[in-house]
Subunit: 210 residues, 2 copies
DNA sequence: AAATGTGAATTATTTCACAGCC
DNA sequence: GGCTGTGAAATAATTCACATTT
């Protein structure tokens, strides 16, 4: 019952929210939940919850709802939470360092395994248990360590160049924190997190809210 | 020619990208640009660029394209970049501190004016030029300092409680970094930045990409 | 009775395509 | 000829509504 129809990215994102909520529900001893209650907790409609789940199969019981434990297990499987993916951080400036210091990765099924920087002075320094390597080593280190995700935290003008290197090294996913539009070949996933832009959009709301 | 039709949020977000690109184009001495070239630089179609701009008026010249300087000025006005908005940070843990340390806010038209935390040991400490205040002071400090944006970087279980306080204090926008669904009254803008979830979604891609 | 699963309807967003202007 | 502005068409996402199951 894998997705035969294309699944919207927003659905995937919500499934992770459901998964997290289910974890909490289980902790509080709840063994069953309806789509409407689960939706309510996350400010979503019951229909949306059911539709989202419907992309992947049938998990509920008519009249009763969903078994929290079962659904959590099923979602975990679907979303790849039963695996651990290796991650590297590229760029160890302000943001890169903050990412390296973030302790929540293991709970997300991610493991930071390498860090790269162009700044010669930083190389071989140890940051949060990871030794910073030169960017040129990325090409060999990524396949050797079997890293599939790169967190790209370099300045905008370096982003495309580094991306090309990452692609050559065989990276599968890039989470791009630089305010730059990256070009990558088919089959490589780029997720853009442009915090500045998100912040800026608030000012539009403020201008147009009176 | 203000938005008579509802403008998609995605359009607003792209307009900021256009604005930024225009800044760079002007620096390189480009005085005119077509929708297709601007789009190309940002991996967007020419039609999308024109449609986005079309929500707010007509800025181009048939056959010639857009005057970079004029368009930049017009977009800046539309998007509220000619104003400065005051911001507070709530929660001065790992992420909150990183936000306080981020130096790019002024370029975004934002000014960090206050910081709040529940941890008594942190109160009255100075962080990046801002004195940390107790959460209870938020209620009076926000209206007094005319703060309209809150960056919410508290643990998930505190998020709703703090949000209620922020709302009472008259905040207009909340950028929520906690993995929690916030309830706010009509007219208040919440922007959710759930970095964990974004990271998690990559693992779904990896599971389903072979 | 309660709640699922799902086609159909609705709404939102993007792309197409072309008349009109410079 | 090149390029804008914009209705119309296509595509995507969400919501509705209801037949069906327990």
């Amino acid at each position: 019952m894998s997705p035969n129809k294309k699944v919207p990215e927003s659905t995937i994102s919500r499934l992770f929210a459901y998964l997290r909520e289910l974890g909490q529900l289980i902790e509080t001893g709840k063994s069953t939940i309806s789509s409407s209650e689960l939706g309510q907790r996350l400010n979503r409609s019951d229909a949306q919850v059911r539709k989202d789940l419907g992309y992947f199969g049938t998990f509920g019981v008519s009249g009763a709802g969903y078994d929290t434990r079962e659904l959590k297990k099923a979602l975990g499987k679907i979303l790849g939470k039963d695996k651990v993916w290796k991650v590297c951080v590229v760029g160890t400036g302000h943001l890169g360092s903050a990412l390296l210091a973030y302790s929540g990765f293991s709970k997300l099924g991610l493991k930071i395994t390498a860090a790269f920087d162009t700044d010669i002075r930083k190389i071989s320094k140890n940051l949060e248990g990871v030794t910073i390597q030169a960017i040129d080593e990325l090409r060999t280190a990524i396949p050797r360590k079997n890293i599939s995700i790169a967190l790209l935290a370099v300045p905008a003008h370096e982003a495309q160049g580094v991306t090309d290197e990452l692609v050559k090294a065989g990276i599968k996913c890039i989470m791009n924190f630089a305010p730059a539009a990256l070009n990558v070949p088919e089959g490589i996933k780029v997720k853009n997190i442009d915090l500045s832009r998100e912040l800026e959009t608030l000012s539009y709301f403020l201008v147009n809210s009176d």
